[in-house]
């Protein structure tokens, strides 16, 4: 649409912008002008509808202008423009294929504008735009519509969740996905859901349901999109959240800037905005963390879903999904199986065919297999798989990487279901710890240490190690039976107990009592905490109640202390060391059952847990070999297993150049060019907006400037010298500053 040249006079005459401005300022007075323009709009609309496809550029332009004007002033005359939104909707939904693109964009933009002015509601806007988004053939149009829909959804959910709107849109999306399983249109439902999930606009089960249906579509693109959502959607969400919380505003800096620069309204506004933002962030911080369940947890009936996925995409021979897609689907299925402990027995026999070293991306298949195993999988189903992996991968003839991968995979499977291993095979595999290749050796050692923990009696006697041997002989260590569950506890509770013990010892030491009279003490506080019956000792100890006013109401000991423990407390001194520690451990775990943990305790517990995990990550000597398998740090049970874990650990892999460079750069100040450390420090200082110190100024002062002073110093009279010295003393009392005027 090339614009025709407009004569100067006409420009003044036909100025829509100024008319719009006037109308918006004073709608009542300009009503006649508006009515005239409304008639004009009606006439233009009629002309346009005479032949929407072949409209001349001129008529399109004038129609475009009219729509623009009316949309901007529609909120001033709601009565007159009643039909306007419906007109626009009709225009865009009937003619969007044939409309001139600028006019089309304008109509859509005007509709959104009307929505912003609250002339129409979100539901009607979205139900107009969404069908066009789905059916339009123009890429730019689709892009724009998607943006508009998304931003409208976000806006209408920004203050509070708009449940009716969400429900409507979710229903529309659900219908879109389920109506025609083979059409690629469902991709838009996926895109929208994914984006809104990422931005935490939608966090409930309904969008997950939409995605679940999309997973079962026939169209490959749709399947990929939805499966990726389940595998990565939550991570995406977390990343976005981290990003948004990163940007911090330094209020002091903004304030300082204001004192320096010229004062203006704009600056004031900027400061106000910054304060607002900081306040909002604070508020957000103090708010309770919203419960965001991962999409995998919000699934309804995961067993059925996983079965359907498996039969539809993997088991059936008819489908034509590519291997990559199949792998994605497989990852999702096994993730579900591992997470929800589902039982899909045919899944394991399906794997058999793929477990050869020549199979493309076999490591990811192995990872999927491992993550699909849990302690309720029948060992019979897994045994042939492990046998096959051992036969195909782990042999003297195979390459060392292959062997390492096989061993790692076996270890990962067995760490989830240890009963799947046979004794002979295990003893065979453990032999590989003597291998010359480091990867194989470490993998075999990993397997060995795993079985020292979970099934030591399957190992040969000399391989068992000290702990396991003692455990077996004392009967403490037993292999768990199928379906047997571990007794649960609170993670880090032993740490808390230990800490409490230390605290008490310290206190006793402060009061001059022997430190190791651990359980029998006269301290009232201890009594209160542990409830030990120690009345007979109280006579001897000096009751130095610092907390004089506080009266401690004693519990009767029978109430909160189980009898056997009391006895143990009394006899503890006589027992030997080993027994002592075992009993200690037991008592610690009982901390939660015997006392009520206060919020302060829980906070401390959290702190200790964090400290312990940091220590573990730092690689101190307390690090247990349990965590050897993932050097990236401990993984959560919800996280899936990736091919990386199965392949040899990262340290053993040959590093790429980038990795090497990154490793070398770690912990060093970043320098773009080769510079001295001093220069880097200085540039950092400059960047932070700090100036030089007085010392620095002194040092840098031009030599010639200092000469004069030095000369005159020698010629000073005694009086002058005295004056200077006095001045110096006086200044030192004022913090080194000179008076005004000197």
């Amino acid at each position: 649409m090339v614009k025709r040249k407009v004569a100067a006079l006409e420009k003044i005459d036909a100025d829509f912008a100024s008319l719009q401005y006037k109308i918006r300022r004073d709608p009542k007075s300009y009503k006649d002008d508006f009515l005239k323009q409304w008639e004009q709009y009606e006439a233009q609309r009629e002309i346009f509808f005479m032949s929407p496809t072949t409209a001349a550029a001129d008529s399109v332009e004038s129609f475009h202008n009219m729509i623009d004007l009316i949309a901007h002033v529609a909120d001033c005359y709601p009565e007159e423009t009643r039909t306007f939104p419906d007109d626009l909707k009709a225009i865009v939904s009937q003619n969007h294929e044939t409309l001139h693109h600028e006019l089309r964009d304008k109509v859509v933009g005007s509709l959104v504008l009307l929505r912003r002015k609250e002339v129409i509601d979100s539901t009607s806007l979205l139900t107009t735009l969404f069908p066009i988004l789905v059916s339009s053939r123009s890429k730019s149009m689709r892009e724009m519509l998607f943006q508009k829909i998304l931003s409208d959804m976000r806006n209408s959910n920004s203050k509070s969740t708009n449940h009716p709107l969400n429900r409507t849109i979710q229903a529309v999306l659900y219908n879109l996905v389920t109506a025609d399983r083979s059409s690629p249109r469902a991709i838009w439902a996926i895109k929208l859901t994914r984006e809104l999930w990422k931005r935490q606009v939608w966090t409930d089960a309904k969008p997950v349901d939409v995605m679940k249906e999309a997973c079962l579509a026939d169209n490959e693109k749709v399947v990929i999109g939805s499966v990726r959502f389940f595998l990565g959607g939550d991570k995406e969400r977390e990343e976005l959240e981290d990003e948004s919380s990163d940007e911090e505003i330094d209020l002091a800096k903004v304030k300082h800037q204001i004192t320096i620069n010229k004062k203006s309204r704009k600056q004031k506004q900027a400061y106000k905005n910054a304060v607002d933002k900081v306040k909002r962030q604070e508020k957000k911080k103090s708010k309770p963390h919203p419960l965001n369940f991962s999409a995998l947890h919000l699934l309804h009936d995961p067993q059925d879903f996983a079965e359907q996925l498996f039969t539809k995409h993997l088991q059936s021979t008819k489908n034509k999904l590519s291997l990559d897609t199949k792998l994605l689907v497989l990852q999702l299925i096994t993730r579900l199986v591992g997470l929800h402990k589902l039982t899909i027995v045919p899944l394991y026999s399906w794997f058999i065919k793929y477990l050869t070293p020549k199979q493309q991306s076999v490591t990811s298949i192995l990872a999927s297999l491992a993550q699909g195993v849990h302690n309720l999988v029948p060992p019979d189903a897994l045994e042939p798989l492990i046998q096959k992996i051992a036969n195909e991968f782990v042999s003297e003839a195979s390459a060392s990487e292959v062997a390492a991968v096989g061993l790692n995979a076996i270890r990962e499977i067995c760490s989830r279901q240890s009963l799947a291993m046979t004794e002979t095979l295990l003893q065979d595999l453990v032999q590989y710890r003597k291998s010359k290749d480091k990867g194989v050796m470490m993998a075999a050692k990993g397997l060995l240490s795993l079985y020292r923990e979970v099934g030591a009696d399957m190992l040969k006697k000399r391989d068992r190690g000290k702990d396991a041997t003692m455990g077996i002989s004392s009967g403490l260590m037993k292999q768990r039976k199928f379906g047997e569950e571990e007794v649960g506890g609170i993670e880090g509770l032993d740490l808390l107990a230990k800490w409490k013990e230390e605290q008490r010892k310290r206190k006793r030491a402060e009061k001059g009592l022997p430190e190791d009279g651990s359980d029998v003490s006269g301290d009232e506080k201890d009594k209160d905490e542990d409830g030990f019956n120690s009345d007979e000792w109280e006579v001897g100890s000096e009751d130095s109640s610092d907390e004089g006013e506080w009266i401690n109401v004693e519990h009767s000991s029978d109430e909160d202390e189980p009898a056997p423990k009391k006895r143990k407390g009394d006899e503890e001194d006589e027992e030997d060391n080993e027994e002592d520690s075992a009993a200690e451990l037991e008592r610690m775990t009982k901390l939660a059952t015997t006392t009520i943990l206060t919020p302060a305790d829980l906070a401390k517990l959290q702190e200790l847990r964090a400290a312990a995990s940091v220590q573990k990550a730092m690689g101190s000597k307390f690090r247990k070999n349990k965590h050897q398998q993932n050097p990236d740090g401990p993984t959560h049970a919800d996280d899936g297993l990736t091919a990386e874990n199965i392949e040899a650990p990262i340290r053993l892999r040959k590093l790429t150049k980038e990795e090497k460079v990154a490793l070398a750069k770690e912990g060093k100040p970043d320098r773009e060019e080769h510079k001295s450390t001093q220069a880097i420090r200085k540039s950092k200082k400059d960047a932070a907006g700090k100036s030089t110190s007085n010392r620095e100024k002194q040092r840098k002062k031009n030599f010639l400037m200092t000469l004069g002073k030095a000369k005159s110093k020698q010629k000073r009279s005694l009086v002058e010298t005295r004056k200077v010295l006095k001045g110096h003393v006086e200044r030192s009392t004022r913090g080194g500053r000179r008076r005004n005027g000197t």
Binding site: A7, E10, S29, L35, Q40, E42, S59
Partner: protein, 342 residues
């Protein structure tokens, strides 16, 4: 502006004074060859030459397309002038037909250049009346758009086109769908006679200080409106029934432009505005219901102002009285009332 030194130097050269030397010219070199030549004919290699000029039809079409789509307003005006001369010659030359001609040229009603619009009006005047009749529906649309145009010049000029249409096809104009109500409301809006009865208590103070030009325009608008009302409300006399009428009705092809329009077989559903009002009574009814009050109020106001507009308003008043004098307000139930009962 020259960017490089070379360009700057080149530019400077134009303003340097040539140094004239007195005395003889430098003698030519001994081996000098004069390469200048004179010739009586110039031969050009490629040239489209034809002994006949492009024929009239081609030229007409070319000018038509120029008139409707050229970006240069002078070119548009000239093309229109050419078309006018062709149409006014005897016999008139019009290879494309009036209907197509009109559909191409009517958008020029809201053209930005004044000469083009006045030339367009001249062209319309020379069009054969009985052929132009058939494009009434199209024409009234563009006229309405022109009348409500933001630019006062354009809306003034489109009144002229309205006049032309009233001359050519006044009966069609008031009967076609939308021709009666929509045009009336356009008139009311352009004159500022607000249709929606405003909230009681406040009168809108539009059209205070009238400029001379505005007053002229208003007078013209009122006079054209009175013509329009006369056309719409004139008493109809039933044609004397001819002897063949019955058979004609049965066997002869209808000759009007859109015979079964009133059935509205193909179009979208019409509302009150877009409805066609085929007879006088229907027009009276809808006029009485929607426009009578604002128009009478407007007339009163303009009459008080006097001047040319006042005189025109008196004419309008007369037209209104003669047209609506015999209308009884409560003469039977209206179809619209029945619809409104829903």
């Amino acid at each position: 502006m020259g960017s490089s030194a070379k360009k700057k130097a080149e530019k400077k050269k134009d303003f340097q004074k040539p140094k004239y030397k007195v005395g003889k010219a430098k003698p030519k070199a001994s081996n000098f060859t004069d390469t200048s030549f004179r010739s009586k004919a110039i031969v050009m290699n490629q040239q489209s030459l034809s002994t006949v000029a492009p024929d009239v039809v081609q030229q007409f079409k070319h000018n038509l397309s120029l008139a409707s789509s050229s970006r240069n307003d002078k070119q548009r005006r000239d093309a229109l002038a050419y078309l006018t001369s062709q149409l006014s010659s005897h016999p008139p030359v019009n290879p494309v037909g009036t209907n197509i001609l009109l559909s191409k040229l009517l958008p020029l009603i809201s053209d930005s250049s004044t000469p083009v619009r006045s030339q367009l009006l001249k062209l319309l005047r020379v069009l054969p009346e009985d052929e132009a009749k058939h494009s009434t529906e199209q024409a009234i649309m563009f006229i309405r758009a022109g009348m409500t145009h933001l630019s006062a010049d354009i809306s003034g000029d489109s009144l002229g086109v309205m006049e032309w249409l009233l001359d050519v096809a006044q009966d069609e104009l008031v009967t076609i769908p939308g021709g009666w109500v929509k045009t009336l409301s356009t008139f009311c809006v352009t004159m500022g006679w607000s249709l929606a009865s405003a909230a009681p208590g406040w009168t809108s103070a539009a059209r205070t200080g009238l400029r001379a030009k505005d007053a002229q325009t208003l007078a013209r608008q009122i006079s054209i409106l009175s013509r329009f009302l006369q056309a719409g409300l004139k008493s109809e006399t039933a044609a004397a029934p001819g002897p063949d009428e019955y058979w004609d009705n049965l066997y002869r092809l209808p000759r009007s432009s859109n015979t079964f329009e009133y059935l509205n077989l193909l179009g979208s559903r019409r509302d009150e505005e877009g409805e066609m009002y085929p007879n006088r009574e229907a027009r009276q009814q809808v006029f009485y219901r929607r426009f009578f009050d604002p128009v009478t109020k407007g007339i009163e106001k303009v009459k008080k102002e006097g001047g040319a507009a006042g005189r025109a308003a008196v004419g309008l008043d007369q037209a209104l009285k003669s047209g609506m004098g015999d209308y009884a307000a409560a003469a039977g139930m209206d179809a619209q009332d029945l619809l409104n009962l829903w």
